[in-house]
Amino acid sequence: MFVGWLWLKEAFLGLMRNKRWNLTAIFITTSCLFLFSTSFAVGLNAKHFAKSFDQKIEIRIDLKESAKDYSRIQRSLEEMPNVKSVEFVSKSEGLKSFKKELGKDADMLDELGKNPLAARFVVKVKDTSRIQQTVDAINKMKIAESVQYGKNFVEKILVSAKAISKFGYICTAVGAIITIIVVFSSIQNNIYQRKNEIRIKQLIGAGYLTIRIPFILEALILMCVSSGIVYLAFYYGFARLMEKIHSSIPFFTFLDPNTVLQQLWIPLGGLALVVGFVGSALSTYRNINKKNA
């Protein structure tokens, strides 16, 4: 118990003595953790966006003029394994809703003389990841003038979001390596400054941990500060940023900022502690003579 107090005391003393290095380490570590948290939030929102959009995805089949046996076509569609529901929109119903959409410009449709729209089936699928197979099967039926679905758009957005997220994670990995090097150097510097204390500890028979743990604790405290700064920045800044983005692209549905924060703190804290532990453990292993304790 008493030696634990000594570890903490020495860890804080080390932080105070080594201010310049530690501030540099905090700055670099905070940047790295911020990058990670941003990537994490982008990833979470991309998943959420894809999920919410998935529920709205439908296949629109504009039928050929020759395809008149609507009930047989509907049965065939309903029998397809990935199909959840099939809705028939007749030519007249289609025209009616189209006129409604056009509003005051609807008169121009009357000028055409006849209904230009095709009869349509609207198909909802169970699994959007297999939508392409369903579309292919529909095309094979040779009943459609055109088959449209919004998957491409969602996929493009997902690919972009994943690319951003992936780039962020790569930057995070590079940042983590840089942080490990910074923590390593910071602890190395501290070990050099406290070589007399280490020597005394070794000579009086202090244990392996008593000599090394203050340095590891020091790095962990440093990383806790950095992750705390990032978490606070997200706590106060993330909701505002989401509001701004949402006002410029309202069709995007974002995750509730509180949900993001709840899911962020464990990976953020975990990454910070792992990086701090690895950097300081490597530094003590390399710089403290093992032969003596």
Partner: protein, 237 residues
């Protein structure tokens, strides 16, 4: 208490043979001087007792157990070490320097206070407990180092040139306290160049010359005296 059996020490880095042959015994409560010129192997001999260095060949027994089998931390809690350079923490007072050793061993604050003050009293520097090292003389600083080495009550005290940086008077004071410790039961092994001290203390002497340890006995007594005179003459010229 300590036994060297045909010990040899060769440093891997430069293949330097520091100790060619060392075979001797030190009994409990003895005070032994290791005398010899610089580079003779005195420090290497002492370092092997507290596992700062390991013997290349041979065997060293401490408390009847091979040092190789001793856990370094356990061995060092029973062997106090004092060097020529004081190695005191400049930002700590005399008391704090001594107490620090116990703090690192996880002692309770109550025990630390009691033991640290006792160690300072044994070295006659309790009145300087609140002073920082730079406020004290070399002799006083070395007594703090000894107090720190004995605060955990080790059974053996290894002193590597403890009076090397001290003036004559301070060296004599340090020797007085080391003698007191020896009188109270501590086994002391000390390397030194100071022939005046060796002569005055009248303790057992081992000559270390060119890596070979020669134990003093009745037959070699005359040679030892000659050797001491030789070293004294060399240091004067």
């Amino acid at each position: 208490m300590i036994e060297f059996r045909s010990v040899q020490k060769i440093y891997k880095e430069d293949h330097h043979v520091a100790v060619k042959e060392a075979s001797f015994k030190v009994e409990k409560g003895e005070f032994v001087f290791f005398v010899g010129p610089s580079g003779a192997g005195k420090s290497s001999l002492l370092k092997m007792i507290y596992k700062e260095e390991m013997p290349t060949n041979g065997q060293i027994l401490v408390f009847g157990k091979d040092v190789k089998r001793f856990k370094t931390t356990k061995l060092r809690r029973n062997v106090g070490v004092v060097f020529q350079d004081f190695e005191l923490l400049k930002n700590k007072t005399a008391y704090e320097n001594v107490a620090y050793a116990l703090e690192c061993l996880g002692e309770s604050p109550f025990k630390i206070k009691k033991k640290a003050m006792t160690a300072l009293e044994r070295m006659g520097i309790e009145e300087h407990a609140k002073r920082y090292p730079h406020q004290m003389s070399g002799g006083q600083q070395q007594r703090i180092v000894i107090a720190r080495a004995i605060v955990n009550e080790p059974k053996i005290l290894v002193c590597d040139e403890p009076t090397g940086n001290l003036d004559f008077e301070s060296a004599e004071t340090v020797m007085y306290y080391l003698n007191e410790l020896n009188q109270s039961g501590s086994t002391i092994l000390m390397s030194t160049h100071n022939m005046h001290i060796v002569n005055k203390m009248n303790k057992r002497i081992m000559i270390v010359e060119d890596g070979v340890v020669k134990t003093e006995n009745e037959e070699t007594k005359f040679n030892v005296t000659n050797f001491i005179e030789e070293i004294e003459h060399t240091s004067q010229t």
